[in-house]
Structures are given as C-alpha cells and as structure tokens.
C-alpha cells in the first residue's frame, strides 16, 4: 500500500467536492457538540452525586418554639429526639444538632455569591434542626415516617428528594441534547453517505481503470473511506472548539458555574470534564464516518 498515493487521492477528493465536504463537517460538528453537551451534563450529575454520596443527610427541622428556647439541644423534646436517634445505631451513623445561628452561618457561606439573598435572610427565619447521617443512604424515608409526627418536629426533609428533583431537571436537558444530537447525526449520516457516493461517481473512470488493472479493494475504496473519516475528524475538532465555547459561555457565564451556587453543593463543569469528553467525540466521529462510508461503498459502488 502506497500511503502517498492514497493520501493525494483523499486530498483531491475533498477539494473536488468542497461544498459537500463543508456541509458534512458542519452537521457532524453540531451533532457532536450536542452529544458532548449531553455528556457534560452526565458528568456534572455524576460529580454531584459523588459529592453527596457520604454526605447525604435527613434533616429533622424543629418547630420555632423549640429552636428559640433551646439553643444547644439540652432540653426536651430536642434532647429526647437526639437520644432516641443516637440509640438507633443500626440505621444511624451520626446525629448533629444545628441551631438557628449555625444554620444562618451555613446559609451565608453557601450563598456568598449572592449578597442580596444573604441580606434579606435573618437567623430567625431559619429553623434549628437535627441532621441525621444514615449508615445506608438508600432508605431515608424510614426516618421521615417515624419522626415527622413527633412533638417538636416541624417537618422532615430528605436531601435526596431535592437532589432527585434537580437531577430530573438536568436529565431532561440532557435527554433533549441527546435527541437533538441523534437527529443531527442522522443528517450527518445521510450527508456522509451522499458525499461518498458523489465522490465515487466523479471518480468512476479512475475506479474503473483501477479495477481493470487489478487494484485491490483497499486501493479503490480506501480513499473514499478516508475522505469521510477526515471530514468526520475535522467535524469533531470543530465540535470540541464549540464545546469549549459552550462551557465558558453557557455553563460559566449564564448558569454561573460554581459561582451562583456553592461548588460543594452542585459540582461545576470543569475543564477536565471537557477534556474527558473530547476523545469520545473524536472516536464517535471516526466510527460513524467509517461505518457509513463502508456501508455506502458496499451498497452503491460496484467493485
């Protein structure tokens, strides 16, 4: 196999068919950008879940009168509740009391990025709570059932409930990105197939001669296949550029990646995440363009 021959055939092919090549690169790039965005959201969810894995707690919020009178949880009913929880060592790992002042401190820390929120908040507006860390974070509803109706308890909040809702919303965005990516991928697929056909047609004389003088299938078809792959890879590189743009503009500026919300609560999308996604985009591009090219040659081009 003479690499220089195949290479020069690929370059001529792409140049001869330049409008189609550009269309192919653009659709591939958009499709892969959407795919990449979806993958970034997946990583964001994963990172956030990891963040919470051993921190997920059930908060038992105490009624206002308990929170006002008992700042240290040394009186009933707070004391009784705490003791009861702590005795249940099979299920519960740790119980921590958080007073209204401590809650306010934590609130200020979380919403540092939004001073206007911190300004309107008062310690009195935040309830005192018992923060229960479970041994097995899979079954937080047991605590809710047992303690929601006890005296001194206002309500029981399961953090995983809130996270589930948040992840559902993210999952929706992600599903949308994936569906759009698939639609674009179909367009890209058809364009690749068409480009390969046009390319093979414009070079039918060459291919005819090649076949006649006994060139192997690699020589006659590899240039077309590589054309598709080269265009696919260029599309992937463009997609990576777009994805960096999406990260720094959409996630960083609009959603306020890690600024609006404490990065310890919802994991931001980091540069590392973009880097981790890129090889998959390139691989997808190579795989899709090569397979489409191969199938097209099989179906439409005589050998």
């Amino acid at each position: 196999m003479r690499a220089s021959f195949v290479f020069s055939e690929v370059v001529t092919g792409l140049r001869r068919n330049v409008t189609m090549t550009i269309a192919m690169i653009i659709t591939t790039a958009i499709s892969l950008t959407l795919l990449g965005s979806g993958m970034l959201v997946v990583r964001m969810i994963d990172n956030t879940q990891e963040l919470y894995q051993d921190k997920l707690q059930v908060h038992i919020f105490l009624t206002n009168d308990v929170g006002d009178k008992d700042k240290t949880c040394t009186q009933d009913p707070c004391k009784r509740l705490k003791a009861e929880l702590e005795s249940n060592t099979d299920v519960i790992d740790e119980v921590v009391f958080e007073s209204r002042e401590q809650a306010y401190e934590r609130f200020r820390r979380i919403f540092e990025g939004q001073p206007e929120l911190v300004q309107v908040a008062r310690p009195e507006a935040l309830p005192a709570s018992l923060q229960v860390k479970l041994k097995n974070p899979d079954r937080p509803e047991v605590i809710a059932q047992t303690y929601a109706t006890q005296p001194g308890v206002d309500k029981v909040v399961d953090q995983s409930d809130f996270l589930d809702k948040f992840f559902d919303a993210l999952g929706g965005i992600q599903a949308l990105a994936f569906v759009a990516a698939i639609v674009q991928a179909i367009a890209a697929l058809l364009l690749i197939s068409n480009t390969v056909q046009v390319s093979a047609y414009t070079r039918r004389t060459e291919v005819g001669i090649m076949r006649l003088v006994g060139a192997t299938r690699w020589y006659t078809q590899l240039p077309f296949l590589l054309e598709a792959v080269v265009a696919g890879v260029i599309g992937a590189i463009a997609a990576i550029g777009l994805l960096v743009g999406v990260k720094s503009w959409f996630f960083d500026e609009v959603i306020g990646n890690g600024k609006l919300i404490d990065p310890n609560i919802i994991s931001p999308i980091r540069g590392v995440d973009v880097v981790a996604v890129t090889p998959w985009l390139v691989l997808t591009a190579i795989l899709i363009s090569a397979v489409t090219g191969y199938v097209t040659l099989r179906l439409y081009v005589r050998r």
Partner: protein, 229 residues
C-alpha cells in the same frame, strides 16, 4: 491460457442466453480474433475472462485461475495478469501520458523506482517516447490508443484483451495499431481481439472465432471475416 468449457450465461433481462454452451481453448502466445455482430456475445465472452461476470453454467480457466469459482479477493491477481484495451481508450484526461501509464502500476502498489524505469520503456515500445509529458487531448486518436496499449502492457500481462481497439480509428491508423498488437503478440503475450473490422481480420490471417446469438459458429485457424456465410 484460456479455456471455456460448456459456458452459458443468462442475464435476468433476457430470455435468450448471451452465451450458450460455448467451449473454446486458446493457447499461450496465440493471436485470436473474436468476431460476430452486436449482441452475439463477444462482450460477455471478454467480461467472463475478467470475472466482471460469472457464468450461469460451465467453467472458465485463465492461466492458472479457475475464474468462475475463485475467491473474490483473488480477482485482482487475475486482472493483474490480463491487459485490457477498449474502443474509447479510457484515459484519464487530467493526467499526462506517462502518468496515465504509471497509474496502472501505482494502484497495484508497485514501487516508485520500478515505475520510473518501466514507464519510459513501454512508451518507447508503443512509439510514444517523445510524448510522455503530453496530455491525452493533445494527441491523435491513434496515439491515444497507443497510450492505452502501453498502460495495458506495462505490467507485462500474460494476455491482452482488446475490445474493438480500432473502432474509433481510420484504416491507416488501425493498421498501425494492428502492427503494434502483433509486436506485443511476438513477445509471447496472448492477444484476444473482438472486432467488426473485416479488412483487418482478412489481412491478418489469424485464428478467427465467430459468435452468433451466443454460440460459436466458426473457429478457423487462419480465417477471414466473411467466409462461411
């Protein structure tokens, strides 16, 4: 060199077979004319040898290849041992004479230094030594056919198939092309030429295989075009 045994070929589009029980044997070094009117099966005959088609029945042998039954991946090897020339030359218009000839070697992976050596040799053989850098459209029809013959012969095939090679040429030029094919035949290359050209067949006095409606109706060792009808 070539052996067809009871070969039939049916196309889906026609009830009449393109070839019906054809048996022909051609020895190494022979020069054979394949004649007959359009639709008599000449093209199918040539296509079977190149494995562009597979016979419906019968066996086809070319050199050591069992053409009808060989694996698809070995077909390039078969074609590398056969040179082909056509009525319409089939040159690449965007390549020079030398590049057209070199192309046939490049695409079968011959090394550059070999190509550099053999291309001028074969151009000299066909009488185009001064025209290596010309483009095909700058050449006469006869010269273009010489380029095509050079391309077909540059890999020193065992046999040369020529499908109406003089169909587009005037009688004088045709005569030159025939002399060239004879010269190639004298190097030991088997030549099989399909043609309509009476005068060429009559003047050459070579073996003639005549096809009509897919059957061999004549096989003369030293034939002329019209005799026997």
């Amino acid at each position: 060199m070539i052996r067809l045994e009871q070969v039939s070929k049916n196309y889906k589009t026609s009830a009449r077979p393109a070839l019906a029980e054809v048996s022909v044997e051609i020895d190494k070094g022979e020069f054979v004319f394949l004649i007959g009117p359009s639709g008599s099966g000449k093209s199918t005959f040539l296509r079977l040898l190149l494995r562009e088609e597979v016979p419906t029945k019968g066996r086809v042998y070319v050199a050591n290849f069992d053409v009808a039954r060989m694996a698809r991946r070995r077909v390039p090897r078969l074609r590398q041992s056969i040179g082909c020339v056509f009525q319409d030359f089939r040159l690449l218009t965007n390549k020079t004479v030398a590049e057209n000839v070199a192309f046939a070697l490049e695409v079968i992976g011959k090394p550059k230094h070999t190509i550099k050596k053999v291309v001028p040799e074969v151009l000299e053989l066909v009488g185009l030594e001064g025209k290596a850098d010309r483009m095909p459209n700058e050449l006469s029809g006869g010269e273009q056919q010489r380029v095509a013959i050079a391309r077909a012969f540059v890999n020193r095939p065992l046999m040369l198939l020529a499908d109406e090679p003089t169909g587009n040429l005037d009688p004088d030029t045709s005569q030159d092309i025939m002399l060239l094919l004879e010269r190639i035949n004298r190097t030991g290359t088997t030549v099989l030429m399909a043609t309509h050209d009476h005068s060429i067949v009559d003047s050459m006095r070579r073996r003639v295989v005549e096809l009509s409606l897919g059957k061999v109706i004549r096989d003369d060792a030293r034939g002329v075009y019209g005799v026997g009808r």
